[in-house]
């Protein structure tokens, strides 16, 4: 498609930072690309695509996510091989992008190997190909521009560091700007030609500015003073490595050139810092840069959370006063249930308090019918983000699925075709393109049949497909009275929520089982809807005895069922309990022994598991730990995970 009606770059309202970053990169390829990050619908892609009309070459190479390896790196020239009977290289996108802009939309979803190759090739300026009997080196200097929506997952720091510039795109926050955006979009859609006409001159001015800057940029000299300033700025931001300084100077040069100057000013570097530093700032300090940038956003978010939690705490305090001292004002929506005396349980300290605990408004929504003694803790959303690190045995099973955590080769004929390979055994999924390329050079030597091409057994290539297979997390949550105090349950929910958040980003599946009183209940069958899990969690009330064995047994049967249905998914059991089992499945006998028995079974079946121990009494019984040991689980105390912020799940972990 040669000509498209692009939304003019000059017609974009706001987003000055993004525009500026894009212009810098267009003027000076040495800044090593731009990463634009922002929520959906903020015009990221439109802006980048519009950039094509203001850069010198007037075009842009786009890399679709469905790209295959041969197209990216280049491959054998099929037509030439057929005609001449010899091999010739047909350059890939990387080589073809030389001297151009290479744009990847949703870059965070691109296969990591491809992304690394793109960035490495850009840094080296050469594309090196060794494949299909071809050895080739080609000059490949291009400007990588990537856009991403952080909601869909983030990029690791090492990848981030390879991008020279970073710009955050956000929605406009003034009514006037928003209205103007709507107006322009409507005008563009109604009469694209007319609209483009109106912005032609402005676009042309930008194009000339870029082209003039490109001409003078090489005249700009970098003085000693500027170098020190760059170093100073990088130091202040705690940047690791030395890329920051170099990018600062290059971006500064571009800014000076855009301003029509042939010398650098300190302000150039200061402005450059807005784009060069945000994504490589160290954690210790936030640095002097308050403007966009991911980190300042995060900081703000934390700030907001803190405020929010502060309010919550005050709210809780008020409630607590109401609960414990009877001095506070009575609350209208909280009813003291008549005769709500909980059977005396194992934890005297809290038992008498609990007697008076009010009914939360959400109680009715819970799966437990009509019980008035329950309470429903909210989720502690300030709980630190948890990273789940899975060390699963490789290739235990052939997987299929669509989560992000594990990318596994798929033997099904589904998934993304990434490359072709020699088949091992019969060809089940023919890689036609690769097969043809393999056959092409030998056509002159082969006997002609009816077809133009004679394909022999040795030419056949198999498609290698890849699919993201997610994990399944089955949460088994103790909702008994001993888990009780509002704050603790809130923290427990916070921890689960943190795991859910990670699961959400990696598109895992989750299920939720809660146990208390005499039974365990599947609150949420395994689903990809993490939102639903969160709702269940929010509404989960606590109170009553602890039928740990029942909970585990329910989980065990569910896990087995899942194993039958989807062999390729490795479920992980997450047990959250204080281990104070006091209710058996049969109604008599030792509750703990009962639980351990099932824990043993779970281990024998080879399920992965994690135990989060919420026991916090002065005298620790360590039952949860014993269960973890028997089950071969990774074991964490609630405190540990909130400190370490990571949960390592290793199969059959040794007892610690």
């Amino acid at each position: 498609m040669s000509k498209r009606n692009l939304f003019p770059f000059a017609a974009m309202v706001g987003q000055e930072q993004v525009k500026r970053a894009l212009l810098i990169a267009s003027v000076n390829p040495k800044v090593a690309g731009v990463l634009v990050s922002g929520a959906k619908g903020t015009g990221k892609s439109t802006m980048v695509r519009g950039l094509a009309e203001v850069v010198a070459t007037g075009k842009m190479a786009e890399l679709p996510l469905s790209v295959t390896e041969d197209m990216l790196f280049g491959s054998l020239d099929l037509t030439y091989a057929l005609a001449q009977g010899t091999k010739r290289f047909s350059p890939g996108i990387l080589a073809k992008a030389h001297g151009n802009i290479l744009y990847v939309d949703d870059i965070n979803l691109l296969r990591r190997e491809f992304l690394n190759a793109i960035l490495a090739t850009a840094a080296q300026g050469v594309s090196i190909v060794e494949r299909e009997g071809i050895s080739e080196r080609r000059v490949a200097r291009y400007i990588t521009i990537g856009t991403m929506n952080p909601e869909e997952g983030t990029l690791p720091p090492a990848v981030l560091d390879r991008f020279g510039l970073y710009a955050a795109a956000g929605g406009e926050t003034t009514v006037a700007a928003r209205v103007e955006i709507v107006r322009r979009v409507l005008a563009f859609e109604r009469e694209p030609e007319l609209f483009r006409q109106q912005y032609r001159e402005m676009n042309e001015n930008i194009r000339q500015q870029v082209s003039r800057a490109g001409k003078i940029i090489d005249n700009i000299e970098i003085t000693q003073g500027m170098m020190s300033l760059a170093a100073q700025l990088s130091l202040q931001a705690h940047c690791a490595g030395h890329r920051a300084e170099l990018f600062l100077l290059e971006a500064g040069k571009a800014l000076a050139a855009l301003a029509g100057r042939e010398f650098l000013l300190p302000t150039d570097l200061e402005e450059a810092a807005l784009f060069v530093l945000p994504h490589r700032m160290g954690r210790e300090e936030q640095g002097p840069f308050e403007r966009p940038g991911r980190f300042s956003e995060q900081q703000q978010e934390q700030e907001e959370n803190r405020k929010e939690s502060g309010e919550k705490e005050r709210e809780e305090e008020r409630q607590a006063r109401g609960k414990f001292s009877n001095t506070a004002e009575p609350e209208a929506d909280r009813v003291e249930p008549a005769g709500a005396v909980e059977p005396k349980e194992d934890r005297e300290g809290e038992a008498n308090r609990r007697q008076k605990e009010p009914v939360g408004p959400q109680c009715q929504e819970s799966g437990y019918n009509g019980d008035v003694k329950d309470k429903t803790a909210d989720i502690d959303i300030t709980f630190p983000f948890l990273n789940l690190s899975l060390t699963l045995a490789p290739n235990r099973q052939v997987r299929r699925g669509s989560g992000k955590r594990n990318r596994t080769r798929s033997t099904q004929r589904r998934g993304r075709y990434v490359r072709a390979a020699f088949p091992c055994g019969p060809v089940t999924d023919l890689a036609l393109d690769a097969t043809l390329r393999a056959a092409a050079p030998y056509q002159k030597l082969r006997k002609k049949g009816k077809c133009r091409l004679t394909i022999q057994q040795e030419d056949l290539r198999q498609k290698v497909r890849e699919q993201r297979s997610g994990n399944t997390f089955l949460f088994v949550v103790d909702a008994s009275g001993s888990m009780g105090s509002y704050d603790r349950m809130r923290a427990v929910k916070g921890a689960i929520f943190a795991v859910l958040r990670d699961a959400y980003q990696k598109r895992d599946q989750v299920g939720l089982i809660a146990f208390r009183r005499q039974r365990a209940e599947v609150l949420l069958p395994v689903t990809r809807s993490v939102d639903l899990a969160q709702k269940c969690l929010r509404q989960l009330p606590t109170g009553g005895k602890t039928p740990l064995a029942e909970g585990l047994s329910k989980a065990f049967s569910l896990l087995k069922l899942m194993g039958k249905k989807e062999k390729e998914l490795e479920p992980v059991l997450f047990l959250v309990t204080d281990g104070r089992a006091n209710s058996t499945r049969t109604g008599n006998g030792d509750a703990v022994a009962d639980a351990l028995k099932i824990a043993g079974k779970i281990r024998t079946e080879g399920f992965y598991s994690v135990v989060i121990d919420t026991e916090s009494n002065f005298v620790k019984l360590g039952i949860a730990q014993a269960v973890a040991h028997t089950m071969g689980s990774a074991y964490y105390s609630l405190q540990e995970i909130s400190d370490e912020k990571i949960v390592r799940i290793v199969k059959n972990m040794p007892y610690q």
């Binding site: 498609m1 000509k3 498209r4 009606n5 959906k40 619908g41 903020t42 015009g43 892609s45 786009e62 679709p64 996510l65 469905s66 790209v67 295959t68 197209m71 099929l78 037509t79 996108i93 939309d105 949703d106 909601e151 869909e152 929605g171 406009e172 009514v175 006037a176 928003r178 955006i181 709507v182 107006r183 979009v185 409507l186 859609e189 030609e193 669509s402 589904r414 998934g415 075709y417 890689a431 036609l432 393109d433 043809l436 092409a440 056509q443 009816k450 133009r452 091409l453 699919q467 993201r468 958040r501 980003q505 598109r507 689903t527 990809r528 809807s529 993490v530 939102d531 639903l532 969160q534």
Partner: protein, 342 residues
């Protein structure tokens, strides 16, 4: 000739929001489609398939696999563009807008297109074999159970939907063609969620539920039975209604480019969007476009506050979710209050 295997759209009982959303998209394909959420057996798929009958005719370039619009050279595929520059007029024909289905188990190569096997082996030529996205250009792309779609297929859909272009760089083929489609999806929310980015691509969203009134439920059964017994006569009964609705759609389509909206209403929408902290600008844009289309459907050349209110109900609910896990309920009272204030 009516297709007796398609249940008539006008014979669907109730589900007014869903029907309205579909009709609006038939009038204005730029709305960006609709996501229909609801339990099983609530006529979601029936309605989408039935829409086909009401869709207007399109003028397309003869022999073009992407059914390019002969009057819009810049939206054409490279081939048509080249031909348009050479010849005076491209031969064209009239084609009915279609509902193209994307099955949940579709493979990526079928969706984006692939290397033509026959051409390659017989003639040794690399030829692009268009996929579902090519068929969907200027048509409706319907994904049943869109929440169960494979992630990488979703990626491809998003890619294409973003710019209305399908770029193929795979299997020895480097090709790009227009792929502007109205995305219509149905899902049962209990079977899992949909990625927010895909969610945002749907212009409108509606939630359907089974009818609660016994009379209506009985009516649903009656009609279904009558249809199954004798589809041809059943279709005849609704013939007049179908034609009338089809006519209304055609008229609204004609009127749409002239519909105006007051600045004051634009300001109200922007204020509401800011207040609700929706991501990006798609919400604002879609609300306004929907209001314009609603006005066109009503035969007016000016959008009224009532149109806007209805548009907010259709375009906002699925955009309310900001971050994972924050409750994304549309606070309608808040909107009403904001609306009254503006």
């Amino acid at each position: 000739m009516k297709d007796p295997s398609v249940y008539p759209f006008t014979a669907i009982v109730g589900q007014d929001d869903m029907k309205l959303a579909l009709i609006l998209n038939a009038i204005n394909p730029a709305l960006g489609g609709v996501l229909i959420k609801g339990e099983k057996g609530t006529a979601k798929s029936t309605a989408v398939r039935a829409l086909a009958d009401l869709l207007p005719a399109l003028e397309v370039v003869e022999d073009c696999p992407f059914h390019c619009d002969p009057r819009e050279p810049r939206g054409m595929c490279a081939n048509c563009q080249a031909r348009a520059e050479g010849e005076q007029m491209l031969a064209s024909r009239s084609m009915k807008m279609r509902v193209v289905e994307l099955p949940v188990n579709a493979t990526e190569d079928r969706v984006v297109g692939t290397l033509d096997l026959e051409q390659a082996i017989q003639d040794g030529k690399k030829q692009f074999e268009p996929g579902i996205l090519a068929q969907a250009n200027r048509n409706i792309l319907y994904v049943d159970e869109v929440n169960l779609l494979d992630d990488h297929v979703v990626d491809v859909l998003l890619d294409a939907a973003a710019m209305g272009v399908n770029t193929v760089e795979r299997e020895g083929i480097s090709y790009s063609h227009p792929a502007r489609f109205v995305l219509v999806g149905t899902m049962n929310p209990e079977e899992g969620d949909i990625r927010p980015q895909l969610l945002d691509r749907f212009g409108l969203s509606v939630t359907v539920a089974g009818e609660h009134l016994p009379e209506l439920r009985v009516e649903v059964i009656k009609r279904r039975l009558a249809y199954e017994q004798d589809p041809v006569s059943f279709l005849e009964i609704y013939q007049a209604e179908q034609e009338a609705l089809g006519q209304r759609i055609v008229q609204a389509r004609r009127l749409l480019p002239q519909v105006e909206i007051d600045d004051e209403l634009l300001i109200r929408v922007a204020t509401i969007a800011l207040e609700l902290e929706v991501d990006g600008h798609r919400a604002d844009i879609t609300v306004i476009k929907t209001a314009l289309t609603l006005a066109a459907l009503a035969g007016r050349d000016k959008a009224e506050p009532e149109d806007l209110k209805k548009a907010l109900r259709l375009a906002l609910p699925h955009r309310m979710r900001r971050r994972p896990f924050e409750e994304g309920v549309l606070d309608w009272e808040k909107i009403e209050a904001l609306f009254a204030k503006g």
